[in-house]
């Protein structure tokens, strides 16, 4: 009998700090007992101590389950554990209308799963699957539902619905305490990690359909900010982890792809190939990567084959979507424009009506130009195993067009991973990602023409055909703008295309020397070729010149890396677990860019394909500034020790030395340490009574990092080229434009990180709270020199100090868990980063040339402060401040100087030379007060609905559209005009100045002050509704998994004043150095570090339909 059997088994157990699950495994190994339980009923990963000799199974169970709210029953060789309030059907012996059911349980890879608990819901009727994954359950109610549970797998509930055969496929649980995270040169159980590491699963990333994972990451991880540098298809994003720290050196994080520092562009990586992504945020975590990791590290792990002897699995995922314009640019319509120009003329503007203009015409250029774009993606994957090895292959295609003609991004990608054991001790593997991307129209911007044309310009001839010449949009601008409707007829007259071919490859070999000691070598070999060509035929909307021009550029970048690693792992005296890693590595990157431009190509069809075929007056230009060669190397040694005592106390210590080629001789090497410790408080005895808290961990990290991410050859100085002709003799000239710095050295950061992680309320609420400080000194700065130095460009130096402080909070809640088929999860993250310049060069309080001020954030707006518009009646006042050219109706800015006895200003505005008498002032930072993201998922049976979004509060948004370099806010009736509430005598607004007031180079004086908006917004970026087909349907289709979904992207924007006024996406769409989008805000005011709204491809709302299948 059961009891006699159980009484016969006696156990000897001495286990310390062991999970309940491991105790069960130990019991299983000592006996024939099987354990049935649901993961939901109690925490099997809880750690317990067992010290029993010659004990019965009941003794053991009492000891390990004693204080938990569970009861157990021993039936035959099965131990069934469940919540105490369950009524055991064994005891009641109630027999109703009974049926039998059987089936097979397999895992996602099609392998049978033995030992799965199968229980009739609400009862303790149950069994477990045998070695072949088969089960039979007799005498259960015909109306019942079966629950399948297995450690590490998601529970499955399945109603009988009259069936007697039920096969199920169980999927691995993706979250939970047993999760493993990549920490660089190794993995660690999440609960043992002591640095700041955030993990995002591949599935989460793919919840946002995009070409580039940085788009998917937006708003997903606290402390990680993504900004688009352009809204065009195929453009890259700017990634900042915990803010900006360096003033001139790169602030981009390191990407590590399958273990090797990634030498390419993120857009070369297909999001579908990513299994998981881990982000190392603090210095104690990034220390293993040394100077490469100074700005944080993003570790990307692609899908690998599984060596667990699985059947091949084929997956397909794909979607197709349409992209439609979110909102048009806010331009004046014909009536508004006529009123506007008349007002400008009245105020003295010389811009009269042009021959293509007619006051009776009303053209909405944007309606004529914007079309519907599309996006589509298709990926096929294959994974499986060989004897002692595994493989995974993938192929992908992505294509995206824009709402503007001539913009497209296409990508073909291939991936292969193969791992193989050779005997008992040796393991080798290769990983390869190749990608071929084609970007069309990356700089050609027809929007400049579309928006500059006036709404009273007629694009059509009297016979209805499209005017093909230039359009005179006033009496003077002739030959500047060609009809943008010509764009579809250009044929060979226009082409702009960049082709990127990249191949990233790594190889490793691993040898187990003795138990616990392992040697590993990583080899990386990477190649990226970029081929760019642009051709502009004469007299098109892209090129108003009468002369054609062409350009080609080829960039070849190669990179190699070698890493030698020794690993040693050992547990001493049971409680002391030690892990050691030592590494020696070297890497080198070489890059060469060749660029050539030509004018006056002999025939349009030649485009940029033969610069030898120019017309007689044509000319080839090889601009020396655009021919680039560099080679940079880094040699490093690193050691890391991880120590864990009793599962409660853990520490990680790292030391790394880097030698960099780009720094001055004698300053090339630097060594820095990092240390972090953690305490798993919830494992302490005294915490066991706190039932609502399942997990509590504290960690503290300290580390130094350094940065050397500057361009090579900065220590050497440089010459620039100019040209001259002595009569007919053409000559080149050289002059010193960069001064050498023989003392250029490392930039150092010191980081502190404090964090708390918790799981509470039955693990349904989890969260992480972190606080950090980073102080960066000897900051690498391109310091500009006064013109009197005689040297035009800045020199690279180490000066000053910056600081970042921040708080990050992530919360994940499981609000509804499996209630009548419903489930609801909510995740939110919230972060604040405060950055500040603590010091510049000794004693220097500000550097206006670069826009840096001690005590202020790095990216501030330093400009005049608009306080309104000079109003009627202030005619005398305005001339006191503005001199004789001041007029009412112009922008009124704040005067910060002194007043004389009569109360008159002692000087005009803008005359100062020092910070005190310069009326420009710090208007604020582009950094928000706080920002974050949210996501939620509601599931009901096979359906799930998820919503993902992000938000930002505070900070300044720069709209170059409204700025002084924009041709859209010229304020003089010359060209198409942004719709604004402008000043007239009858409309004494304080918002925008009068048409044609005092100007600086064609724009209103102080026009830059019109470009600042509050950057706050809440944006829902993605809403997805999906249906996962039921197991039994799939069975009939011979599929393992089928998911269909529809997604809406960018459906809503709230809480943005900018959006309210202009209808434009409050997320910047251009870098402020981008001339093609007229985003070049005044460089003295808005540095090119800042992302701004220019007239780039507008934001779209997208609707996608997608499908994921697993065979």
């Amino acid at each position: 009998t059961a009891s006699s059997f159980s009484q016969q088994s006696k156990f000897n157990l001495q286990l310390k700090n062991t999970t309940i699950k491991d105790v069960f495994d130990e019991l299983k190994s000592q006996s024939d007992y099987q354990f049935f339980y649901s993961n939901d009923d109690f925490d099997v990963s809880r750690r317990v101590d067992v010290d029993l000799n010659d004990a019965s199974i009941e003794n053991v169970l009492e000891q390990i389950l004693g204080d938990m709210d569970v009861s157990y029953k021993i039936v035959d060789k099965s131990v069934i554990i469940s919540k105490s309030d369950v009524v055991w059907s064994f005891d009641q012996k109630q027999q109703q209308q009974q049926v039998s059911v059987s089936g097979t349980v397999t895992d996602g890879g099609g392998q049978p799963l033995p030992g799965v608990t199968v229980v009739e819901k609400g009862t303790t009727n149950g069994t477990i699957t045998d070695f072949d994954g088969k089960y039979v359950l007799r005498d259960i109610a015909a109306t019942s539902t079966l629950i399948f549970s297995f450690v590490g797998m998601e529970n499955i509930e399945m109603a009988l619905d009259g069936r007697s055969l039920i096969d199920v496929v169980m999927q691995e649980q993706t979250i939970g305490l047993e999760e493993v995270v990549a920490i660089g040169y190794g993995v660690q159980r999440k609960e043992a990690v002591t640095g700041s590491v955030a993990s995002v699963g591949g599935e989460e990333l793919r919840a946002v359909a995009s070409s580039n994972i940085s788009q998917s990451l937006q708003g997903r991880v606290a402390g990680v900010e993504m900004m688009q540098t352009s809204s065009r298809p195929g453009a890259s994003m700017q990634i900042r982890i915990r803010g900006t720290r360096s003033l001139t050196a790169s602030n981009d994080p390191l990407i590590v792809l399958d273990g090797i520092p990634f030498a390419g562009s993120l857009q070369d990586i297909n999001p579908s190939d990513i299994k998981s992504l881990d982000i190392l945020k603090d210095a104690s975590a990034t220390a293993v990567y040394g100077s490469r990791g100074a700005n944080g590290v993003i570790i990307i792990t692609t899908f690998k084959g599984d060596s667990k002897d699985k059947e091949p699995v084929v997956t397909y995922s794909g979607y197709y979507g349409v992209k439609s314009l979110m909102n048009k640019y806010p331009m004046m319509n014909a009536d508004e424009f006529i009123t506007w120009r008349e007002e400008a003329i009245k105020n003295g503007a010389s811009w009269q009506y042009g021959v293509d203009e007619d006051k009776s015409v009303s053209t909405d250029w944007q309606d004529l130009m914007f079309e519907t774009g599309m996006v589509t993606s298709h990926d096929v994957g294959l994974s499986g195993s060989t004897k002692g090895g595994g493989y995974s292959f993938g192929a992908g295609y992505y294509d995206e067009t824009s709402v503007l003609p001539g913009q497209e991004y296409e990508r073909y990608s291939l991936r292969a991973n193969f791992d193989q054991k050779l005997g008992e001790r040796v393991k080798v593997g290769v990983s390869s990602i190749s990608s071929y991307g084609i970007v069309t129209g990356e700089t050609s911007n027809i929007l400049g023409t579309v928006l500059s044309l006036t709404p009273i310009t007629n694009p059509y001839n009297a016979d209805g055909s499209i005017k093909t010449g230039s359009l005179a949009i006033n009496n003077q601008d002739i030959g500047l703008y060609y009809n943008p409707l010509m764009v579809d007829q250009l044929g060979d007259k226009w082409r702009e295309r960049r082709k990127n071919f990249a191949s990233y490859n790594s190889f490793y070999g691993e040898v187990n020397i003795v138990d616990g000691l392992k040697y590993r070598m990583n080899l990386g070999l990477n190649y990226r070729q970029s081929n760019y060509g642009k051709y502009n035929g004469a007299e098109t909307p892209y090129n108003a010149s009468t002369i054609s021009n062409a350009q080609i550029e080829n960039v070849l970048t190669t990179n190699w890396a070698v890493e030698n690693l020794l690993y040693y792992d050992k547990t001493f005296a049971e409680k002391h677990t030690l892990g050691l890693v030592a590494m020696y590595s070297a890497e080198q990157t070489e890059s060469n860019t060749s660029n050539m431009a030509g004018q006056d190509v002999a025939a349009d069809f030649l485009q940029y394909y033969n610069f030898g075929l120019l017309s007689d007056d044509g000319e080839i230009t090889v601009d020396p500034e655009k021919q680039i060669y560099y080679k940079r190397g880094l040699t490093s040694a690193m050691a890391r020790a991880t120590y864990n005592y009793d599962g409660k106390y853990m520490a990680t210590a790292t030391v790394r030395s880097d030698g960099s080629s780009v720094l001055a001789s004698g300053k090339k090497w630097h060594t820095y340490p990092a240390l972090s410790v953690g305490w798993l408080a919830s494992s302490e005895e005294f915490m066991q009574s706190v039932k609502w808290l399942n997990f509590l961990k504290f960690r503290v990290g300290y580390g130094q990092t350094s940065n050397q991410a500057i361009q090579p050859y900065q220590t050497l100085g440089g010459l620039s080229t100019n040209y001259y002709n002595f009569g007919s003799r053409n000559v080149s000239g050289y002059y010193v434009s960069n001064l050498p710095n023989y003392n250029l050295g490392w930039e150092y950061s010191t980081n502190w990180n404090l964090a708390m992680e918790f799981h509470a309320l039955d693990n349904r609420l989890s969260g992480t709270l972190e606080y950090y400080t980073q102080t960066t000194k000897d900051v690498l700065v391109a310091q500009s020199l006064p013109p009197t130095s005689g040297v035009t460009e800045s020199f690279m130096t180490n000066i000053g100090k910056t600081q970042n402080k921040g708080v990050e909070l992530s919360l994940n809640g499981n609000v509804i868990k499996d209630l009548n088929g419903w489930s609801w999860d909510v995740g939110v993250n919230f972060f604040v980063n405060r950055n500040k310049i603590k010091e510049l060069a000794s004693g220097q309080q500000y550097d206006k040339g670069n826009g840096w001020f001690v005590g202020e954030p790095i990216d501030v707006i330093y400009d005049f402060k608009k306080i309104g518009i000079w109003q009627k009646g202030e005619e005398n006042e305005v001339t006191k401040y503005e001199g004789s050219t001041g007029e009412v109706g112009m922008i009124k800015v704040e005067y910060t100087g002194d007043y004389d006895a009569q109360g008159n200003p002692t000087r005009q505005i803008g005359q100062g030379t020092t910070l005190e008498d310069d009326d420009r002032q710090i208007l604020g930072s582009v950094e928000p007060d706080f920002q974050g993201g949210f996501n939620t998922r509601v599931g009901y049976k096979g359906f799930d609905l998820s919503v993902i979004g992000s938000f930002k509060s505070g900070g300044i948004l720069v709209s170059a559209l409204h700025s002084q370099t924009s041709y859209l806010n010229m304020n003089n009736g010359r060209r198409g005009q942004v719709k604004i509430d402008y000043w007239t005598e009858d409309n004494p607004t304080n918002a925008y100045p009068k048409p044609y007031g005092p100007e600086v180079t064609n724009n209103p004086k102080y026009a830059s002050t019109l470009s600042y908006f509050d950057a706050s917004y809440v944006k829902v970026s993605t809403i997805t509704l999906a249906y996962n087909f039921k197991q039994d349907w799939l069975q009939k289709l011979k599929l393992n998994k089928l998911r269909l979904y529809v997604t809406a992207q960018n459906p809503f924007v709230f809480g943005s004043k900018f959006y309210k006024e202009t209808g434009l996406d409050p997320q910047p769409n251009s870098n402020s150095s981008d001339t093609s989008t007229q985003a070049v805000a005044d460089n003295a005011v808005v540095t090119n570090r800042i992302q701004v709204v220019g007239y780039n491809t507008p934001a779209t709302r997208n609707f996608l339909f997608g499908l994921n299948v697993t065979f």
Binding site: Y734, S884, D917
Partner: protein, 595 residues
């Protein structure tokens, strides 16, 4: 070793210690001239804001502020000189410092001395005293990044650099330039004389003492002696036979031009311009010669609804862009109508008759267009005309949109002198483009900047410098009195038939005012006027008032410019202070008084 660096696509400063490096360094110094002579920035700084011109209706904001003397340190125009002279000076420092050792010919080093002095002269006359130490020590090649700057005095700039460098250049440069457009002994004498003269005036006007203990009278004498020496031994240089020849496109590089900022139509790269190059902003980094459109009026105006004149790369047409406008006084005082029969300089400076070219376009469909009064206008027929006097003004009708007047029996439009506006005025012919490769109306180069050299110094001005020194009391040689010198220029201006008339009309006594007016007639618009007026202390007197009509208005208004004594120097631009680590007190002291 992977930690060693070897650049391969860029040059490092070591190149500057080789002969090739030094020679190319010298070429770069010439190239720097293009920042200053040709672009609009210098035209605003030197021609607008004087009696020669005011702003046009396409003006830039900074140009307006320069013209109205509403100048702050943030004015973009200031960088034209401030930002572009020091790099040339530094390169010259390098050539002078390293040239001997590298084995460079002494005459090349003398060219560097010439340009170091030339750039300092431009600086000192614009801003007053400026730094001689750029970071590595006084007059040393700067290899030390320093953000600290100290100004030297005006006296130091003259006596430590300008005079010694130019004196050396006079001694060491050949009279015949090494290459077309290269500097030479005569140009060095020209600028040395001008520098002595200017410094003499400065000592006299300010009452300051010379560090070398010389008097202003001694400097006037030195100026006279050097200038006359150049006139007497001009090497290959000589005055042209007629005034028109001096500025005629086909006669560029003529013997009268001592120094120019050269340009070429053979290559956009070597011309440092682009096709279609527009833009007038001094800070927009353009080195192309835009003088051809800065003072070119709107000839594209429709007449009877038709456009007769298309942009064309010839001297009479060019490309219109009204940044700067001659004042009414130019047509009444400077070039009096009464003199125009004998003095060819008016017609050799301005375009007063605009002729149709539309039939030369490749796109012309053969239709003959009608002008005012329904009259045909064929190629070569007058489209616009500026009569010399207001005699016919009363009989003019106004065109429907009020842009010009016309006669009841003529096809063309008319502006009489008092109708000259910021939009329509006689364009400056001297600066018009000249090309030989394709001059079709509406042709491929219609919007390009001028590819002609922009004159910096002419032998005619050397005569006027000598004359001015003589007026200021220098002892003159026989046949080289102020009047003799002026008459050489006037006789040539009257050529071919009126040389004697011109000499006869010269007043018995030449005073400074006469020299100044003669300078304007001879050298109108050539980036000199503001410097002439500040040198002689006549800025308020000459530039204080001017008359112009606004756009589309025939109402002549006399404007007043509020010129103060501090306006004799320009403010040090803000970009200097923005990049200086000096204390705030030092910065305050660094700025010129009044700003």
């Amino acid at each position: 070793d992977i930690l060693d660096e070897q650049p391969r696509a860029e040059m490092t400063p070591e190149f500057f210690s080789t002969v090739e490096g030094i020679e190319s360094g010298l070429s770069s110094v010439y190239s720097q001239l293009r920042w200053i002579h040709g672009p609009a920035g210098m035209m605003y700084l030197s021609t607008a804001g004087t009696d020669e011109a005011t702003y046009g209706d396409n003006k830039d904001g900074y140009g307006l502020n320069l013209d109205t003397y509403n100048i702050t340190s943030g004015n973009d125009g200031l960088g034209t000189i401030w930002n572009n002279t020091f790099p040339a000076i530094n390169t010259c420092n390098g050539i002078i410092e390293k040239g001997d050792e590298a084995g460079v010919d002494a005459s090349l080093i003398a060219e560097a001395k010439f340009f170091r002095a030339y750039n300092y002269f431009l600086l000192v006359t614009t801003f007053g005293g400026v730094p001689l130490d750029l970071g590595s020590g006084e007059l040393m090649f700067n290899t030390t990044p320093s953000r600290y700057s100290t100004r030297n005095t005006t006296q130091e700039v003259y006596t430590k650099v300008i005079f010694p460098d130019l004196e050396d250049a006079v001694d060491e440069l050949p009279s015949t330039p090494r290459l077309t457009s290269a500097t030479n002994k005569i140009a060095a004498q020209h600028f040395l004389a001008k520098a002595y003269l200017t410094y003499g005036w400065w000592l006299e006007r300010t009452g300051e003492t010379d560090t070398d203990g010389l008097t202003s009278a001694q400097y006037y004498q030195m100026a006279y002696d050097v200038a006359v020496a150049a006139i007497q031994n001009p090497g290959p240089f000589a005055l042209q036979a007629t005034f028109r020849d001096v500025n005629l496109g086909s006669n560029d590089y003529n013997s009268e031009i001592l120094l120019c900022a050269d340009h070429t139509s053979s290559s956009y790269v070597y011309d440092e311009s682009t096709a279609n190059s527009w833009g007038s902003n001094a800070s927009s980094n353009m080195k192309s010669n835009r003088s051809s459109f800065a003072m070119n009026m709107d000839f594209e105006l429709a007449v009877n609804g038709n456009k007769f004149i298309y942009r064309q790369a010839i001297q009479e047409v060019g490309r219109p862009w009204r940044l700067i406008t001659p004042t009414h006084e130019v047509f009444t005082n400077t070039f009096p109508v009464s003199d125009r029969d004998m003095d060819t300089r008016f017609s050799g400076t301005f375009v007063t008759v605009y002729k149709a070219n539309y039939q030369g376009r490749t796109a012309w469909d053969g239709t003959v267009l009608k002008g005012m009064n329904g009259m045909d206008i064929n190629n070569g027929d007058t489209v616009f005309y500026f009569p010399p006097t207001d005699a016919d003004k009363a009989s003019l009708m106004q065109e429907s949109s009020g842009k010009f007047g016309y006669f009841s029996n003529k096809a063309y439009g008319v502006w009489t002198p008092s109708m000259i506006s910021r939009h329509n005025y006689p364009s400056v012919w001297k600066f018009g483009p000249y090309r030989t490769d394709d001059i079709t109306p509406d042709g491929p180069y219609k919007n390009d900047a001028s590819t002609r050299p922009f004159p910096i110094a002419k032998l005619s001005e050397t005569y006027l410098i000598a004359a001015e020194a003589a007026v200021k009391g220098a002892n003159t040689q026989a046949n080289y009195t102020a009047k003799d010198l002026v008459n050489v220029i006037r006789r040539r201006a009257g050529a071919p038939d009126h040389g004697d008339d011109m000499v006869a009309a010269t007043p018995a006594t030449i005073d400074i005012d006469y020299v100044l007016m003669e300078r304007s007639r001879e050298l109108y618009g050539e980036n000199l006027r503001w410097y002439d007026l500040t040198r002689t202390g006549k800025l308020e007197e000459y530039a204080g008032e001017y008359t112009i009509c606004e756009t589309n208005s025939f109402n002549a208004v006399t404007h007043t410019r509020e010129i103060q004594s501090y306006h004799y120097l320009r403010p040090i631009p803000a970009s200097q202070f923005d990049n200086m680590d000096n204390t705030d007190a030092e910065k305050e002291a660094y700025q010129n008084p009044g700003y």
